[in-house]
């Protein structure tokens, strides 16, 4: 176990694309159990930051240390193992496998982690209020319902970190609030670390800390 107050640590992380610099020397530390909101204008590098923290993308330079492990040095398969052990994901678009039903989509994450357990998967859907929809395909569900399944899937393997990229981007205020209440409830039950990207101030206020990005840099870091 790494020290709790340097659970996630980025040192001078940059990401250059051929046509743009997405991140320019990001330094940041996240404590274990923190709920951090990341805000900023479109194109400021929020998604890139999240992808690098999860190892889905490699930084051009700099170092990412999670739970005392330098993930920038990892090979792809090691990274995949690290990801399934430690990280849960919720994407802006609810990325679900279209031909699998709700419970099977959750079981998929279990299967990649260890073994699929239908009972447990169904229970997790119950907890996000989707118990009555377990055999529906994603196309038969509303955006808010799909997003709830994504949350159930992200948390099914009890990750220490939840990375959410605009999880409520497509939802109306009412559904956004329901999702955040759900997240908040699960967060207080399990005390995982949340890093949540959003451009919506209403969403950002649910975290205790807000990091503001602009042009690939952190320009503000505030606690409430």
């Amino acid at each position: 176990m790494g020290s709790a107050d340097e659970f996630i640590k980025l040192r001078c992380v940059s990401k250059e694309y051929a046509t743009a610099s997405a991140l320019r020397g990001i330094d940041m530390v996240v404590e274990k159990g923190q709920w951090v909101s990341v805000v900023g204008p479109s194109g400021s590098g929020k998604s890139t930051l999240l992808n690098i923290m999860s190892g889905l993308d490699n930084p051009t330079s700099g170092q990412v240390v999670i739970d005392s492990t330098d993930i920038t040095a990892m090979k792809e398969d090691e990274m995949a193992r690290f990801r399934r052990e430690k990280i849960g994901f919720v994407f802006q678009q609810s990325h679900l496998i279209p031909y699998l039903n709700a419970v099977e989509n959750v079981m998929l994450a279990q299967y990649f982690h260890s073994i699929a357990d239908e009972r447990e998967a169904a229970d997790s859907l119950e907890r996000v209020g989707m118990g009555h929809r377990i055999d529906h395909k994603p196309s038969q569900l509303s955006g808010g319902e799909q997003q709830r399944i994504c949350i159930a899937r992200a948390l099914i393997n009890s990750p220490q970190i939840l990375l959410a990229d605009e999880p409520t981007g497509n939802l109306d205020r009412e559904n956004t609030r329901k999702i955040l209440e759900l997240l908040n409830r699960l967060y207080s039950e399990r005390q995982f670390t949340i890093i949540l990207v959003t451009h919506d101030p209403f969403v950002a206020q649910w975290g205790r800390r807000t990091i503001t990005m602009e042009d690939g840099k952190i320009i503000r870091d505030e606690y409430r």
Partner: protein
């Protein structure tokens, strides 16, 4: 879980799945028909090539002083049937015994010393220790020899070679003096070889005439043989027990000759290489051809599966990226493709087998005029083979899938 993923995924892209199964179906149908036909036809070609003549010659063994003393040695008449008791007895398709003597023939004031040969043209002898008979005689080792008239059935009549017949201007029905005894000519024989200058008499009659009861001077055997390979050319005397066993139990012309030698007392049996060689070569080439055709067909099937899967990857990029983001290791991604490959292969193999049963039956009757024996054993073999072919088709798609970068695909924007 993996089965669910693959099943649902197929249900989601039925066309692609059907295309891949069809690709395997046709490939395996063609390949397994080729194999069934070649197994059958191989035997037939071999049998037809037997028309080129005997491939084993059995003669008395000549050893030491016997040769110098000028005393002739013979084989035993009663050993003929024993040739049908060897391990490879079913491969022996023809046996012809000969008793070689000389005689002087005279007709129209002309005379000439010629070979007087005792043999059978065609007859059936009872199988030793079994019910049924087996064919023996010149016809069974040299089927292209043509006899006009009838074969000699006693010491009163003979068959003469075609060039003697024209030289002496005699024909069946005429008489000719043989060692001063006028004999009736029952038929003429045309072989295209030295036999055209010989005269023939029924074997037992000649034995009695010459006081050589139970004696024969050589035997020609026509046997179906396995193609000679490098192992076959090794000297059996230098083999280990296991090697000798293997050599003995493979139908090489040499091992069959050895077994025949063992049943003819005091004999030496050797392959007649010209015939034995041709046959093995032709069969080997036929086999190589069939294997090549099978290989090409199956390669086409592999390619069919491969391209269809790679094309499908365009649509599946997102789900593969997602699986990787969820922490799927490369082995679990690969397993999905391999499982798809196995399912396609098993389905294609089953359909392919059924199709090949029909196709080979049709080709067998239409082209070769025979009903092919269908071997149920081929079903599991076909299915397993088809699965391998199909799995081979997943190699490239798996490589491509590994290249999918989830970050690019899952970015919030698009």
């Amino acid at each position: 879980m993996i089965a669910t993923i693959v099943r649902r995924s197929f249900a989601n892209r039925k066309k692609a799945a059907a295309l891949m199964i069809a690709s395997i179906t046709f490939g395996t149908a063609i390949a397994s028909s080729l194999i069934v036909i070649s197994m059958e036809i191989g035997g037939r070609v071999s049998r037809e090539l037997r028309a080129f003549g005997a491939n084993i010659l059995v003669e008395p063994e000549i050893e030491g002083m016997a040769d110098l003393s000028g005393q002739r040695r013979y084989l035993r008449y009663e050993d003929i049937v024993r040739a049908k008791t060897i391990f490879w007895r079913h491969n022996i398709v023809g046996i012809a015994p000969f008793l070689e003597t000389d005689a002087e023939i005279t007709s129209n004031g002309k005379s000439e010393k010629v070979g007087l040969i005792g043999s059978w043209y065609y007859k059936e002898l009872p199988l030793p220790g079994e019910t049924g008979t087996f064919p023996v005689g010149i016809k069974t080792v040299s089927p292209w020899w043509s006899l006009s008239g009838k074969w000699s059935d006693s010491a009163d009549n003979i068959v003469i070679g075609s060039s003697i017949a024209s030289e002496f201007s005699v024909k069946p029905g005429d008489r000719i003096d043989v060692d001063g005894t006028p004999l009736k000519i029952s038929g003429t024989l045309d072989s295209g070889g030295i036999e055209d200058r010989q005269i023939f008499m029924d074997l037992e009659s000649l034995q009695r005439l010459k006081g050589a009861g139970g004696k024969i001077s050589k035997v020609l055997v026509s046997a179906l043989t396995a193609p000679m390979d490098t192992f076959a050319y090794r000297d059996p005397a230098s083999m280990s027990k296991a090697e000798y066993e293997k050599w003995y139990c493979t139908g090489y012309v040499t091992s069959i000759a050895k077994q025949i030698e063992d049943v003819f007392k005091g004999s030496k049996a050797r392959p007649i290489w010209q015939v034995a060689g041709t046959e093995g070569k032709v069969l080997k080439r036929l086999k190589v051809l069939v294997y090549l055709l099978c290989l090409m067909t199956l390669a086409a099937s592999t390619l069919g599966v491969s391209t269809t899967m790679i094309m499908g990857l365009v649509q599946r990029k997102e789900e593969i990226g997602l699986m990787k983001a969820l922490g799927a290791g490369s082995e679990k991604i690969a397993l999905i493709f391999v499982t798809e490959g196995i399912m396609i292969g098993l389905a294609g193999g089953l359909f392919g087998y059924l199709l090949s049963v029909g196709a080979s039956q049709y080709i067998g009757t239409k082209v070769f005029g025979i009903a092919l024996e269908q071997r149920a054993m081929l079903l599991p073999m076909t299915m397993a083979g088809a699965a391998c072919v199909s799995i081979a088709g997943t190699v490239l798609p798996i490589k491509k899938a590994m290249e999918v970068r989830s970050a690019v695909i899952l970015k919030g924007e698009q």
